[in-house]
């Protein structure tokens, strides 16, 4: 079966946090071009605080997502706090009852996360936001599943689409958030939220692939 254990997968969230913290300066730099330059700092702070609470506690993926979502939602503020906060909280709620996670569960998790974001934000695809990464990534994952591709291959498709979506923001005009005040001048620069979202999805997908590999080896 192509699935991995929820119970021991909390460390995936640690690797997501690691990627965000590593890219703190980069994210702030691209944010500084059209936003206010605090994206990396605030993201690193929130993900770092959550990682401190997760590390060493042997959490399930659901609990680790919940910890991250709660920290982002309640302690970080800014716009990314609530947006990513609601996404991770939705991830957690979707999978909290599942002992193992297969491709349909993973897909449901992503979709509910997206619904959460859309319930509090008003952005659409093409507005130069994190949705330009998240929406095509989920679509690619679901399409790969529909084609009967194995779970790991669907995860590869997810990462590819996320990065393509991120890159698409370079040519978009910002229509929401602080960058939107710049109008046409926002063209030519990546959106910081779309970039951090691609980092998150890639770390999530790689983590899931690793877990799949472990459970496949163990099952043999």
């Amino acid at each position: 079966m192509q699935q991995f254990e929820n119970a021991s997968a909390g460390d995936i969230v640690l690797s997501i946090a690691d990627r965000i913290i590593e890219n703190r300066a980069y994210l702030s730099e691209i944010d500084g071009k059209i936003g206010d330059g605090d994206h990396g700092v605030n993201m690193a702070k929130g993900f770092g605080m959550a990682a401190d609470r997760i590390r060493g506690n042997d959490m399930s993926l659901a609990t680790a997502f919940d910890t991250l979502g709660t920290v982002l939602m309640t302690e970080i503020g800014g716009s990314m706090g609530p947006l990513y906060g609601v996404m991770f909280t939705q991830f957690a709620e979707t999978i909290e009852k599942s002992s193992s996670i297969d491709a349909p569960a993973f897909s449901a998790m992503l979709s509910n996360g997206l619904d959460g974001i859309q319930s509090i934000g008003s952005a659409k695809v093409g507005d130069k936001t994190l949705l330009d990464t998240l929406v095509p990534a989920i679509a690619a994952f679901d399409a790969a599943n529909a084609d009967g591709k194995p779970f790991p291959e669907a995860l590869d498709a997810l990462v590819l689409a996320a990065e393509k979506g991120r890159d698409s923001t370079r040519d978009l005009v910002a229509r929401i958030g602080r960058a939107s005040r710049l109008g046409e001048r926002s063209v030519g620069v990546l959106d910081a939220g779309a970039t951090s979202c691609a980092l998150i999805l890639k770390a999530l997908a790689l983590g899931a692939k690793q877990k799949l590999l472990i459970s496949a080896t163990a099952g043999r």
Binding site: S28, D36, V41, G48, G56, S79, R178, A179, R181
Partner: protein, 698 residues
């Protein structure tokens, strides 16, 4: 030994050739001025000025030769590998465990015992970390004594060293008493010993001793510690903890049986850093793990491969935020915690910087008054709370939620304002009698989270509802809306006025989409006065909405601002350019134009304001000329002068004006002009008395 060449060089011979001391390139360098310049610089250790003279070229040319020589690989600058590797390990430890700082001693230098080398490194680190006024808790052990013996931090004032545990009669040289007293001597500190045994025979005796006034006062001193210095002890069979006699060996076995892997400041922890319960717990007199964790800077000094599990446990448990160790141990800790990429990173060759040399006055970082950049908001708030203690106090001890001392009262609508930091005196300077009742404080340029805002609403509530007034930014709207929902669940009715005074941020058709900037000042004043007059929530909201609809702001930036955490400017602006339509977050303006005179700039802004403000001759306005942070009052008055000329030319009367720092954007150079088009109601509310840290009327 100079060999003269006949081939004249392109540069300089004509000018410098006649001078004494002018040396053509010796033969062995051929015709290569790069090699010659490098030789003189790196081998003969001459200054660039001397080389310029010798070669008969300008100093700038020497500088570019040297830079090109590095880029072309004529010169390779390399770091000594063992030092590079200890630096990489330190950086990785710092990142991986989220440490405040980490120092790693190279492992290949085996001339001195490890404890001495760690002691020496820690002694040097202590000289940087210890400040006047600190209270340092000092634990005991061989390493701690080695640090104390090598430490020397002269010039400190009012430092206190407190022994972190009780004393011991054990027969070893590094007793708690000695460690603390040698350290106190080394840093010129007042010494507080704990004059009780570290381990007593029963829990009752411990409790009795702790109630003794003398020992109680010594523990009070320990409780004030803001820095701690301690070793980490392994529980492996060869550890000195077994032979020191500090703990009874029978009890030690019981802790071992419960998976204790290390001892931190006399307390046992397991592999994850969790406290291990055991028979000694109630009989130890000394710092507890909770007390330790509450200390701001927790410096652990430990090395040796047998200590890897113990140090890792202490790091996982969060007892340490400054680690001083050696390279082998550091690598072992990282490997044990699953970091494997380090070796790949170390094997990568250091990158060579190919950028051209920059002039000596080029800055890569902006100078700022900072300690730890990560603490900038907390430290500022610490200062604010103390400086303005007469006006504001923390809600439930949090500096992120501040309430006016004489603000909220039963029967009055509460006014809550807030937003990110970096705009000081916005928003916390406007909290006090007659103005806002509470302020929620976020990170730099970043909205506060909902919980903080809700606490403010709760504190501001006088039973008649609460008004939220804040600038229109996506993050603020989301967080304040969530807080409003939380308040509703607690039966507090919340109304929200989102300010949108920045006329440059969107066209008039999208007035609701505009951002709120310095004109907030007028909205806060209006709302605060309406609330203080005891108007209903409806009336307070309506007055504030009216003020918002009649306030027009536009800003101009001359230079960008720089973020404390990066100390870099957060966007670029050309030497001759200005940004018109600047917001208060360092986000770029809407139009970039060439630099122009103060009057031309003021005219550009006033023309835009007049195009929207339908003021008739004889109407009255209030004016705010606001600095973005770095623009001095001198220039603000020059702008105000022109604003006044333009208004009086239209026979518009200035009822009141403010010139200064009212809503800033860190250190941005620039200013904004806000005009409030008054009517009778707004005029009355504007003159209503208020008393806050930055605004006093009546």
């Amino acid at each position: 030994m100079t060999v003269k060449t006949l081939s004249a060089r392109k540069n300089g011979t004509a000018r410098a050739g006649a001078e004494a001391g002018t040396e053509p390139i010796p033969l062995r360098y051929g015709d290569d001025p790069y090699v010659w310049a490098c030789w003189l610089y790196y081998e003969d250790h001459m200054t660039q000025g001397d080389i310029a003279e010798i070669m008969g070229i300008s100093r700038a040319t020497v500088n570019s030769y040297l830079a090109d020589a590095r880029a072309r690989g004529i010169v390779n600058i390399s770091l000594e590998p063992s030092r590079l590797s200890s630096l990489s390990i330190a950086q990785e430890l710092k990142r991986h465990f989220g440490l405040h700082d980490c120092l790693v001693v190279p492992s290949d230098d085996n001339t001195r015992p490890l404890i001495d080398r760690l002691g020496g490194a820690a002694a040097q680190a202590l000289a940087k970390l210890l400040k006047s006024g600190d209270t340092l808790a000092v634990a005991w052990g061989r390493t701690v004594l080695a640090i104390a013996e090598q430490a020397s931090v002269p010039g400190l004032q009012d430092v206190t060293v407190v022994q972190a545990t009780g004393g011991t009669a054990a027969n070893f040289a590094y007793t708690p008493e000695l460690c603390a007293s040698v350290m106190a001597g080394a840093v010129n500190a007042r010494l507080v010993n704990i004059t009780a045994p570290a381990v007593v025979s029963t829990a009752e005796i411990r409790d009795m001793l702790l109630r003794e006034p003398l020992i109680e006062s010594q523990f009070d001193a320990l409780g004030k510690a803001n820095k701690a210095l301690f070793g980490i002890s392994s529980l492996r069979p060869n550890s000195t903890i077994h032979t020191s006699g500090f703990f009874e060996s029978v009890s030690l076995q019981q802790y071992l049986a419960r998976n204790a892997v290390g001892v931190v400041a006399g307390r046992f922890i397991d592999g994850q850093g969790k406290p291990v319960a055991g028979p000694l717990d109630d009989r130890i007199i000394g710092i507890s793990l909770d007390m330790l964790k509450a200390i701001n800077l927790r410096i652990a000094v430990a090395g040796g491969f047998d200590k890897v599990p113990a140090i890792l446990a202490a790091l996982r448990g969060g007892y340490v935020n400054v680690l001083i160790t050696d390279a082998a141990t550091g690598r072992g800790i990282l490997n044990a915690d699953g970091v494997t990429e380090l070796d790949q990173k170390l094997s990568q060759r250091p990158k060579i910087d190919h950028r051209a040399a920059l002039p000596s006055n080029f800055r890569t970082h902006i100078k700022k008054f900072l300690n730890d950049p990560n603490d900038v908001v907390e430290e500022m708030l610490d200062g604010v709370v103390k400086a303005h203690a007469g006006y504001i106090r923390p809600i439930k001890g949090s500096h992120r939620a501040l309430v006016a001392r004489t603000g909220p009262r039963p029967g009055k609508v509460g006014l809550v304002i807030g937003g990110g930091t970096g705009h000081e005196p916005c928003f916390l300077g406007y909290v006090g009698k007659g103005l806002a009742d509470a302020v929620a404080v976020g990170n730099i340029f970043s909205s506060p989270p909902p919980g903080t805002i809700f606490q403010c609403a709760n504190a501001a509530s006088g039973g008649q509802g609460v008004l939220f007034v804040y600038g229109n930014y996506a993050g603020d709207v989301m967080n304040f809306d969530m807080a409003a929902e939380m308040a509703a669940e607690h039966n507090i009715e919340v109304r929200t006025v989102v300010t949108t005074d920045d006329i440059a941020s969107s066209p008039i058709e999208d007035k609701e989409g505009r951002r709120g900037v310095a004109g907030n000042f007028f909205m806060f004043k209006t709302a605060g006065a309406a609330c203080d007059r005891g108007l209903s929530l409806d009336a307070c909201e309506a007055a504030t909405r009216k003020a918002n609809a009649r306030t027009f702001t536009m800003g101009v930036a001359l230079e960008p601002c720089s973020m404390p955490q990066t100390r870099r400017q957060n966007f670029e602006i050309g030497p001759d350019d200005i940004e018109i339509g600047m917001g208060i977050h360092g986000e770029r303006g809407v139009i970039r134009d060439k630099m122009m005179s103060a009057d031309e700039i003021a005219d550009r802004v006033m023309d835009r304001i007049f195009s929207e403000m339908k003021a008739a001759p004889g109407d009255r306005v209030a004016v705010l000329v606001n600095s973005f942070g770095a623009t001095p009052l001198m220039e603000l008055y020059i702008l105000f002068r022109r604003v006044e000329q333009r208004l009086s030319a239209k026979d518009i009367k200035i009822e009141a004006n403010w010139v200064g720092h009212y809503c800033t954007s860190l250190d941005m150079v620039g200013a904004s002009i806000s005009v409030l088009h008054l009517d009778n109601e707004l005029t009355e509310l504007l003159h209503h008395p208020c008393d806050t840290a930055v605004l006093r009327i009546g």
